[in-house]
Amino acid sequence: MDLELSQDQELLSESVAGIFRRQAGLERAREMNGTLDRPLLDALRDGGYLDVGLDAGPIEAVLVAEAATEAVACAPIATRVIVAGLLGIKDLPPVIGLVASPRSLVRYATDADAFLVLDGDEAKLVLAGDAEVEPVASISGYPLGRVQVRGGTSLGPASGDALRRAWQVAIGVEIGANTLAAVEFSANHVRERKQFGRPIGSFQAVQHRLARSYAQAQATRWLSRRAAWFADNEFVTASAAAFGCLTAETAYTNVHQVTGAIGITTEYGLVQWTTRLLTLQRELGGRRSHAQRVAAARAAELAATAG
């Protein structure tokens, strides 16, 4: 087993990071104020990055999604590169919304060109013209809406399972990257902020909160990369989402506790990552649902081995 990035993967990471440095980041997210960043998506499409999951592979898709998430890109990039990539759907438009049920809240629903919809055992591709979208005001870091679909094209038998697994991978990837960015942002704060004549980051009570969340974020990242590689195995994909939810829950508390009052202001910026964590940890049924999927997948594996 060799987990080092190849030369091509390193080059991909560097080039996509350059795009996000120029066209994304905290200042840009503030400017966008919860709306879709079309120019960023256009740049990614023109550079061929949106189809990297199809053209290069799942790890390449994850690398692009991680960079996008850390840079608080205001577009559903993980959905497009990871979920659509793992499902092997070609010629998709840039903005895709994911729909778990008619009641669920869908990211970028009002901007979506098309939706991938869980419908029992099947997944469907529904164009925006065949969907009714109701925007929902929220505290999320994403624009949200409810989506009612009519018709759509089935992606085939058992495609619902494949969509759910790919979505679990994306949740894990986004939580890992969001948490790492939030922890590093908070670490900058505690290095500078002084109390009792010392940076507050020199106190173990502060250090341990951030260190614990950093470790959980790294574990989420590596488990999610593994899940992308083994995307047919729900034991692994649901584990990535379930552990990601634990990570998000702890990180939200930890980074806000150590940054104090300034951390919860919109001007400061930390909430750009943490409100997204709140959304991600509730998507697709949240921790409880992912964990039950893990247990069911493991029981099925053991039954198959015994049989």
């Binding site: 020199s202 502060v206 950093y214 574990a219 590596w222 990535a240 552990f243 039950q292 069911a296």
Partner: protein, 119 residues
């Protein structure tokens, strides 16, 4: 889980399934982190090996999580001597202490990965 099934406990109960699933997920996170730490050791033998402390920070509490899950699943029967749950309790209690306590690992991460000042 096998022990619970043998005792007639319904491990498909949604509440227990959640506990079981989270325990498995935590194990898989630790496994992935261990792979990453070994990979770092192999490819960067002279580097800071930051992921070793991260790996230990996940693995120690994982053992505790699994011990708690065993007790949640088996209930008071987990207190019987000589059971797997009993053995896991010992592992789960000692894992965050052994080979450099959890707090030492957190100190290492704070300094080497997050660049926080000495306390």
């Amino acid at each position: 889980v096998r022990d619970a099934e043998a005792k007639g406990i319904d491990v498909t109960d949604p509440g227990l399934a959640e506990v079981i699933g989270l325990a498995y997920a935590t194990c898989e996170a630790a496994r992935s982190m261990n792979y990453a730490a070994v990979n770092e050791r192999v490819h960067h033998p002279d580097g800071g090996r930051h992921l070793s402390a991260v790996s230990r920070t996940i693995t120690g509490p994982m053992e505790t999580t699994v011990a708690q899950a065993c007790h949640d699943i088996l209930g008071e029967e987990a207190m019987e001597a000589g059971t797997d749950a009993n053995r896991q309790l010992i592992t789960g209690t000692s894992a965050p202490i052994a080979a450099g306590s959890l707090e030492v690992q957190l100190n290492l991460i704070a300094r080497s990965s997050l660049g926080l000042p000495n306390s």
